[in-house]
C-alpha cells in the first residue's frame, strides 16, 4: 500500500507549526499505524533529517500515551481503538492521511505530535483519590459491593487518560475524563466519605486548567477508545449540583 501523509511539524512549544507532506510506499496492510510511522521515521533519519516526534509506549491500547488526530478524528477512523491499535488495513490504498496532535488550549504542543497533558494529572491530584493511607484498612471482604455497582465502577475506571475526549470536543472539555474518575468512586461505598469534596475539587481544577464547558454534544463518548459512557457526565453533574448546594 502507499499513502500521502500530511503531518503537523512543530519544532517546539514556541515555534510556528505547519503541515508537511510525506510519501510512503511498500506498506503492509497488517502493519500497525505506528509501525508505519516507524518506517517513515526510519526513512527520514536515513535522509539526515529529524524524525517526527510522537508519543507512544505500550502499543497495546492501555497506557494512553499515543495521541494522534488522524483524518480529523482523535485516534483515527476505528471505533473503540487507540492510535496504536490501528492497522493499515483500516485505511485505503493511495489515501491521503492527515496526522495532527490532539488540539486543546489545555494540551499545549511540545513538539510535532506530542502534547502536554499534565493538566489531567493536576485534576487527579486535586481530588481523584480515596484518602486512605497504606495499612489503614480492614479486610477486603468486609466491604461487600453489589456486583452491578462494582461492574459500573469498573467501566468508568477503564479510562486510560489519553485525552481523546478533549481533542474530540468542540469546547475542549475534559468532562468525560473527570466524570469517569468521579463516577468510579461515587459508585463505590469506599468513595462516599469524600464524594462531595471530590466532585467540587475536580470540577474546579478542570476549569482552572483551561478546559471548556460541556454542552452535551457527545463527541467524547463517540471517540473514546475505551467506550466510557457519557452517562458518567450526567452523574458528575448531579453530584456537583448536590455537593454545591449542600456545601458547608
Amino acid at each position: 500500500m502507499k499513502f500521502t501523509l500530511q503531518i503537523w511539524r512543530q519544532a517546539n512549544n514556541k515555534a510556528q507549526g505547519k503541515m508537511v507532506d510525506y510519501q510512503i510506499d511498500n506498506i503492509n496492510a497488517n502493519m500497525s499505524f505506528l509501525e508505519m510511522m516507524d518506517v517513515l521515521n526510519d526513512q527520514i533519519i536515513r535522509k539526515g533529517e529529524e524524525p517526527v516526534a510522537f508519543d507512544h509506549d505500550c502499543r497495546e491500547g492501555i497506557c494512553g500515551m499515543c495521541s494522534m488526530h488522524i483524518n480529523g478524528r482523535a485516534h483515527g477512523p476505528l471505533k473503540l481503538s487507540t492510535t496504536c491499535q490501528l492497522y493499515m488495513r483500516n485505511f485505503t490504498d493511495g489515501e491521503t492521511i492527515t496526522i495532527e496532535p490532539f488540539r486543546a488550549k489545555a494540551f499545549p504542543v511540545l513538539k510535532d505530535l506530542i502534547v502536554n497533558r499534565g493538566a489531567f494529572d493536576n485534576i487527579q491530584a486535586a481530588g481523584g483519590f480515596i484518602s486512605v493511607s497504606t495499612g489503614q484498612v480492614k479486610d477486603a471482604n468486609n466491604i461487600p459491593i453489589n456486583k452491578e455497582d462494582a461492574d459500573m465502577a469498573f467501566y468508568a475506571a477503564a479510562c486510560i487518560g489519553c485525552g481523546a475526549c478533549v481533542a474530540a470536543c468542540k469546547n475542549a472539555s475534559a468532562s468525560l475524563f473527570v466524570s469517569a474518575k468521579v463516577s468510579q468512586y461515587a459508585l463505590l461505598p469506599q468513595g462516599q466519605t469524600e464524594r462531595n469534596e471530590r466532585v467540587l475539587a475536580m470540577v474546579n481544577q478542570m476549569e482552572v486548567e483551561g478546559f471548556g464547558s460541556c454542552t452535551n454534544t457527545g463527541a467524547c463518548e463517540a471517540e473514546c477508545p475505551k467506550g466510557i459512557s457519557i452517562s458518567n457526565i450526567a452523574r458528575m453533574n448531579r453530584d456537583y449540583i448536590s455537593a454545591a448546594i449542600s456545601a458547608k
Binding site: 509501525e35 487527579q124 497504606t134 459491593i145 462494582a150 475506571a157
Partner: protein, 638 residues
C-alpha cells in the same frame, strides 16, 4: 564486594515480624527533613512513593512517560495473587510461599518469598480500600480465578485489566500526596546516573526530555523501581520505552546485577507477523483457565482450517504431558512445549511458529456471555491485531519475552550493594527465582512498595537524620553530570550509517536466537563475540538525529540501546556460567527427556555480578541459597 543478604534469624514465619519489631524508627519531625528519590512510577514506584509520603518523608518521583499513570505495570492483564483463602480451597501463606519457590525452580530466597506471601493479603485490602474495582461475585464478595503453577484459586482480577486498575490505585494514592505537596512529580525525565559519595547513594542525574536539560537531584536515599530489561530482545511484550538504563547505571556504580540470564518467555502471545513488527502483545495467562492449547497431531494438517481438524487428530500436548496441571502448567514449561511442537514441524499459521488456544469447548460449556464477561477485552484486543474473531476460530499464540526475573541484587531490606540505593519490583531479582508464576509480578511490585520498603528504608534513614542536603555543586554531582553530557555528545557526534533500531533489532535477534528459550554452550560462546562486535560497531557507526537540547526520542532510544548492548553480553556470560537448566534458563546440554535438569549441588546460588570497567570481564559473586524449611525437589507438574 561482600554480599550480605541480612536475612533475620529465627523461624521462617517470624522473620518479618522480628525484623519490623527490631527496625529503627525515624520520628515524624525528622522524616520531613529526609528526602527520598524514587525512579519509576509503576506499581512498585508509585506505591512506595505514596507510602513514603504518607509516613512524612519528602519524595521526588521520576518517570520517562508524560504521566506516572502510564508506567508499564498498566498493561498487566490477568491478576494478582494473594493468600486470602476466600475460596476455602486450602490456600495459605505457606502454600503461596511454596508454590512461588517451586515455580521459581528453587532459585529464590526462602525468607524473601515467605515475606511476599505473608504481606500478599494486605495488598488486596489496601487496593479495595483505594477503590480498585476488582471482579466480584453476585453476593458482592471478591471473585478469584486460577493461574499457572497453582492448584488453588487465589488470583484477584479486574477483567483483563488488573494491572491498569492496581496501577491507577497506586497512582491515585501518589497523586493525593502530590496534591498535598509531599511528592514532587517529574514526568518526562529519565535517570542517567546515580550519584555516589564515598560509596553511598546521594542522588541522581536526570535528563528532562522536553528540553534536554540535565538536572541534579539530591536524596538521602534513592529507590529504583524501573522495571525489567526484556526490551534487550527488541521484540517483547514490554512497552517501547522500557529500558535497563537506570539499573545498568546503578550496576556500573557498584550495584551487583543478579541472575541476568533468568528471563521469562511467556507462552501466550500474539505471534510475530512480519519484519516490520515493533512489539509483541501478550494474551493473558488467565485465558489458559478456559482455553485449551493444541497443535495438529500430523504435520500435513497444519495449514488446514483448525475447525476442520477432528478431535482425534489434535494433540492437546500440555494436557497430555502434564495431566495434573494441564493447560495451567507454569510459563517456562508451557513455552518450551510450544517451541518443541513447532520445532517438530507441527506449528500453525503462515510462519509455522504458532499453536492454537481454543475456546470452543469453553463457549459450549459456559456460554458465549460468560466467556465474554471473563475475557471480553482480551478477545477484542486479539481481533484488533489479527483481524480474526477468537469466538469463532482458535487464537494463534506463540511464546514471547515478557518478564525478567533477574535484576539488581538486593538484600532482605531491598538495598542493593550500594548503600542507600534500593531496588523494588521487577527491577530487583529477589522473589521469582528462575521462573515467575503468573499473577506474582503485581503482587511483588505492590508488596515491595506498600509493605516492605516503608519499613526497611526507615531502618536506614534513622542513621541519616544528621545528613544535611548535599550541595548540588559537590564534585560528585558535577562529575556525574559531565559523564552523561559527554555520552550524549558522543552519541550525536558519531554520525554513522546505521540507525539505532538497526542495532537494536540485530542485538535482539542474537539474544533471542542464542539466549532465549534454549541455550547451548556453543551458541552462547558465539553470541558473546557477536554482541561485543555489535557494540563496537554501534559506537563507530550509529546514526542519531537531532540535538541534545531538545525533545529527541531518537537520542533517548540510542542511549537505551547502548546500555542493552552491554547488558546483553552479561546475560550471555551468566547463561554460560550457569551449567544447569532451571526454570526459564534451559541449557540444552542439561535435560532429562525435555525437562529442565537442575544441579543443586553446584548451582544453588544467586549469581551476582560485579562491574569492573568498560569491556572488562565482570566478577561473579555467589550468594548461596540456603533452604531450611523446604526440601529441594525435582519440579514436577505431571
Amino acid at each position: 564486594m561482600i554480599l550480605d543478604s541480612k536475612i533475620p534469624t529465627g523461624p521462617l514465619d517470624q522473620k518479618w515480624g522480628k525484623y519490623k519489631g527490631d527496625a529503627k524508627l525515624v520520628n515524624p519531625a525528622n522524616k520531613r527533613k529526609l528526602e527520598i528519590i524514587v525512579v519509576g512510577s509503576g506499581l512498585a514506584g508509585a506505591s512506595a512513593a505514596a507510602s513514603f509520603a504518607e509516613l512524612g518523608y519528602s519524595v521526588k518521583v521520576f518517570c520517562y512517560q508524560d504521566s506516572a499513570r502510564r508506567a508499564h505495570s498498566i498493561a498487566a492483564q490477568g491478576g494478582i495473587n494473594s493468600a486470602k483463602n476466600y475460596k476455602n480451597d486450602g490456600d495459605s501463606v505457606h502454600r503461596l510461599f511454596y508454590d512461588t519457590i517451586k515455580g521459581g525452580d528453587f532459585r529464590s530466597r526462602e525468607a524473601n518469598v515467605y515475606r511476599l506471601a505473608e504481606v500478599s493479603t494486605g495488598i488486596i485490602d489496601q487496593c479495595v480500600a483505594q477503590g480498585v474495582p476488582f471482579a466480584r461475585e453476585y453476593g458482592g464478595l471478591l471473585d478469584n480465578r486460577s493461574f499457572g503453577g497453582s492448584q488453588v484459586s487465589r488470583t484477584f482480577y479486574a477483567a483483563g485489566q488488573t494491572g491498569q486498575q492496581l496501577l491507577l490505585g497506586a497512582y491515585s494514592a501518589m497523586m493525593r500526596q502530590v496534591g498535598l505537596g509531599t511528592v514532587k512529580m517529574y514526568g518526562r525525565h529519565e535517570m542517567h546516573e546515580v550519584v555516589t559519595i564515598d560509596g553511598v547513594a546521594r542522588g541522581i542525574i536526570a535528563r528532562n526530555s522536553v528540553n534536554g536539560e540535565l538536572e541534579r537531584h539530591f536524596g538521602h536515599a534513592v529507590v529504583l523501581a524501573t522495571g525489567g530489561y526484556g526490551n534487550v530482545f527488541f521484540l517483547s511484550t514490554n512497552a517501547m520505552g522500557c529500558n535497563v538504563t537506570a539499573a545498568w547505571k546503578a550496576h556500573k556504580k557498584g550495584a551487583a546485577f543478579a541472575n541476568p540470564c533468568f528471563t521469562q518467555i511467556h507462552p501466550t502471545c500474539v505471534p510475530v507477523n512480519g519484519d516490520y513488527q515493533s512489539k509483541l502483545t501478550l494474551m493473558s495467562e488467565s485465558l489458559r483457565n478456559d482455553g485449551r492449547i493444541w497443535v495438529p497431531m500430523h504435520k500435513e494438517d497444519c495449514k488446514k482450517d483448525p475447525r476442520q481438524i477432528a478431535e482425534e487428530d489434535r494433540d492437546y500436548y500440555l494436557e497430555r504431558k502434564y495431566p495434573s496441571f494441564g493447560n495451567l502448567a507454569p510459563r517456562d514449561i508451557a513455552s518450551r512445549a510450544a517451541k518443541e511442537a513447532c520445532d517438530e514441524g507441527r506449528g500453525v499459521g503462515e510462519s509455522g511458529l504458532a499453536v492454537y488456544l481454543d475456546f470452543a469447548d469453553a463457549i459450549k460449556r459456559k456460554g458465549y456471555d460468560a466467556i465474554k464477561a471473563s475475557y471480553g477485552n482480551l478477545f477484542d484486543m486479539y481481533k484488533h491485531i489479527t483481524n480474526e474473531n477468537p469466538y469463532e476460530i482458535p487464537m494463534r499464540i506463540y511464546p514471547a519475552v515478557h518478564y525478567t526475573m533477574g535484576g539488581l541484587w538486593v538484600d532482605y531490606e531491598l538495598m542493593t550493594s550500594v548503600k542507600g540505593l534500593y531496588a523494588a519490583g521487577e527491577c530487583n531479582f529477589s522473589d521469582h527465582g528462575a521462573n515467575r508464576l503468573g499473577a506474582s509480578a503485581l503482587m511483588q511490585g505492590l508488596a515491595d512498595g506498600y509493605f516492605v520498603l516503608p519499613y526497611t528504608i526507615g531502618n536506614y534513614l534513622a542513621g541519616e537524620i544528621f545528613t544535611k542536603p548535599i550541595d548540588l555543586n559537590h564534585p560528585a554531582f558535577v562529575e556525574a553530570e559531565n559523564i552523561v553530557k559527554e555520552r550524549f555528545n558522543k552519541l550525536l557526534s558519531i554520525k554513522g550509517t546505521r540507525t539505532v533500531d538497526d542495532f537494536h533489532r540485530e542485538l535482539g535477534k542474537i539474544i533471542w536466537d542464542y539466549c532465549g528459550m534454549a541455550r547451548t554452550r556453543e551458541g552462547l560462546t558465539k553470541a558473546r563475540v557477536m554482541v561485543q562486535e555489535l557494540r563496537a560497531q554501534f559506537w563507530k557507526d550509529v546514526k542519531v538525529s537531532g540535538t541534545t537540547d531538545s525533545l529527541n526520542p531518537d537520542l533517548e532510544k540510542a542511549a537505551r540501546v547502548a546500555d542493552f548492548l552491554e547488558l546483553g553480553e552479561l546475560m550471555i556470560v551468566d547463561a554460560l556460567t550457569r551449567e544447569e537448566s532451571c526454570g526459564g534458563h534451559f541449557r540444552t546440554e542439561y535435560q532429562d527427556a525435555g525437562e529442565a535438569q537442575r544441579n543443586d549441588e553446584l548451582f544453588a546460588f544467586v549469581s551476582a555480578w560485579e562491574y569492573t570497567g568498560d569491556n572488562k570481564d565482570e566478577i561473579l559473586h555467589k550468594e548461596q541459597l540456603v533452604y531450611e524449611n523446604i526440601k529441594l525437589q525435582v519440579r514436577s507438574y505431571k
